[in-house]
Amino acid sequence: MPAPIITLDRVDKRFPNGLLALQAVSLGVAPGEFVALLGPSGCGKSTVLRLVAGLEPPSAGHIAAPALQARADAPTAFVFQEPTLMPWASVYDNVWLPLRLAGMSSAEADDRVTRALAGVGLADFQQAYPGELSGGMKMRVSIARALVTRPQVLLMDEPFAALDEITRQRLNADLLASWQAAELAVLFVTHSVFESVFLSQRVLVMSARPGRIVAEVAIPEPYPRSAAFRTSRPYLDACNELSRALEAAHADVPT
């Protein structure tokens, strides 16, 4: 097992209003690993991502994400639940943004921007504006923007939650293709048992208030995973196991 690229060691997060959002959360993500963080809304999954990205400091414990600090041109790549695009800029300019902020001119960045857009199937939409795209296409732009810096770590915060099932399955498959093409560790937050099993090598189950990691399920199925995987025995078994773990973790929580 190589040294983890993200480590959380007994991390607490207490918000200014006194709410304890996370309690003693420990986890590690290895380079190139795909890990899902599964839990219901409000359990603190997104807070874990925000702490890893450095958007908020932890209240206690230790976070190490060496890759994030090491390379200035490959900082944290973060995909929000919303596409979070600049509506006034073309698709091309939106994807160029991270490189532009790092000081790369259009000419220097062109090759990478074009390839990132081709990688998510939007080569023909470079000059379109976000308002002219569907929800799924906007999310593809958001993913292209995240990957254009060639990050070693990708943090995703329920990126497909607002999409319809067909679009979501397509984007899941394409995300796995992008992940396999790059040497990329992904920490993927979701509330969908099915999504977590289809995508990841390991699923961490979180309980709510305060958020803790209560179970860990390995999905040792090889990649590439086709649509047939969704109806296979190991897939269904993993889904069952995770559903039970979620159930157990939230038995005492009113919904």
């Binding site: 990205a53 450095g54 958007l55 200035a72 900082p75 944290t76 973060f78 929000f80 919303e82 979070t84 600049m86 509506p87 006034w88 800029a89 943004l97 991270p98 532009r100 902020l101 790092a102 504006y129 976000p130 308002g131």
Partner: protein, 257 residues
């Protein structure tokens, strides 16, 4: 097609009705001049009116330019510091709510140059919509986009250029549309109060003069120039808004649904 011609047709219809009313009702021209007479008067007096028009235009656009500069500058300071905003916003409100007609005489006393006094009065009327809209606009950037810029370690200058300015632009344009109209109103109001005669005076002075001499057609001619100026301002800012926001902002999107 008919939809597009509708405004022009309405206008022509109204003018015709006015012309007929005056002619058939034999209304004397010092009470209500017919549109044809107004146009003729404008043609005959264009030489003397043009100078006044130019003066009013200078005040209007000079003040509007200063209102843009001042409004945006003050808005930027407010956006940087809540404390300064809290301290100074009441002053801006006081300036805004005081009727310009009421303080113009004071300003005319305090400011030695009439032109400068007129500019100041007009500026007071015009700057507030730009200020308040730009303040809101500079704070309107989407929180997730702000965090994205933080993640990518944007410098303050990059944040301003790539995030805050584009976010604030629709708000600024909305303020500009209001201020454009207001600056003309402010300029004419201030001129009315100043009431000066002589060469360096605007259309408001022409209207006052004509009114003293009961030259009603000339009043209408000057009025026509003012209306045309106002419409021109309105049109050009709408066009500017379409050019700057047309492709992406909801206010300029024309959808069938």
């Amino acid at each position: 097609m008919i939809q597009r011609c509708l405004p022009a047709l309405t206008l022509i219809g109204l003018l015709l009705a006015w012309e007929l009313l005056v002619r058939l009702g034999r209304i004397p021209h010092y009470t209500l001049p017919a549109p044809s007479l107004v146009l003729a008067t404008l043609w005959q007096n264009f030489g003397s009116l043009a100078g006044s028009w130019w003066f009013t235009l200078k005040i209007t656009f000079g003040a509007l330019l200063l209102a843009c500069a001042g409004g945006v500058l003050i808005a930027a300071v407010f956006a940087l510091s809540r404390r300064i905003e809290t301290a100074l916003f009441p002053v801006a409100v006081v300036l805004q709510v005081t009727p310009i007609v009421a303080i113009a005489p004071l300003i005319l006393i305090y400011v030695p140059s009439t032109t400068a006094a007129l500019l100041l009065c007009t500026w007071i009327v015009a700057f507030f919509p730009i200020l308040s809209n730009t303040v809101i606009g500079l704070r309107a950037a989407e929180p997730n986009l702000r965090e994205l810029f933080r993640l990518y370690r944007a410098t303050p200058w990059q944040r301003l250029r790539f995030l805050l300015v584009p976010s604030a632009l629709p708000y600024f344009i909305a303020g500009l549309k209001i201020s454009g109209g207001l600056s003309l109103i402010g300029a004419v109001t201030a001129e009315m109060v100043a009431g000066a005669a002589g060469r360096e005076t605007g259309l408001a002075s022409r209207i006052l003069e004509a009114s003293f001499r009961t030259e009603t057609p000339k009043m209408f001619a000057a009025l026509l120039l003012l209306v045309m100026t106002g419409v021109l301002i309105f049109w050009s800012f709408n066009a500017l808004s379409r050019v700057l926001l047309g492709r992406w902002h909801a206010t300029e999107q024309q959808r069938a649904d």
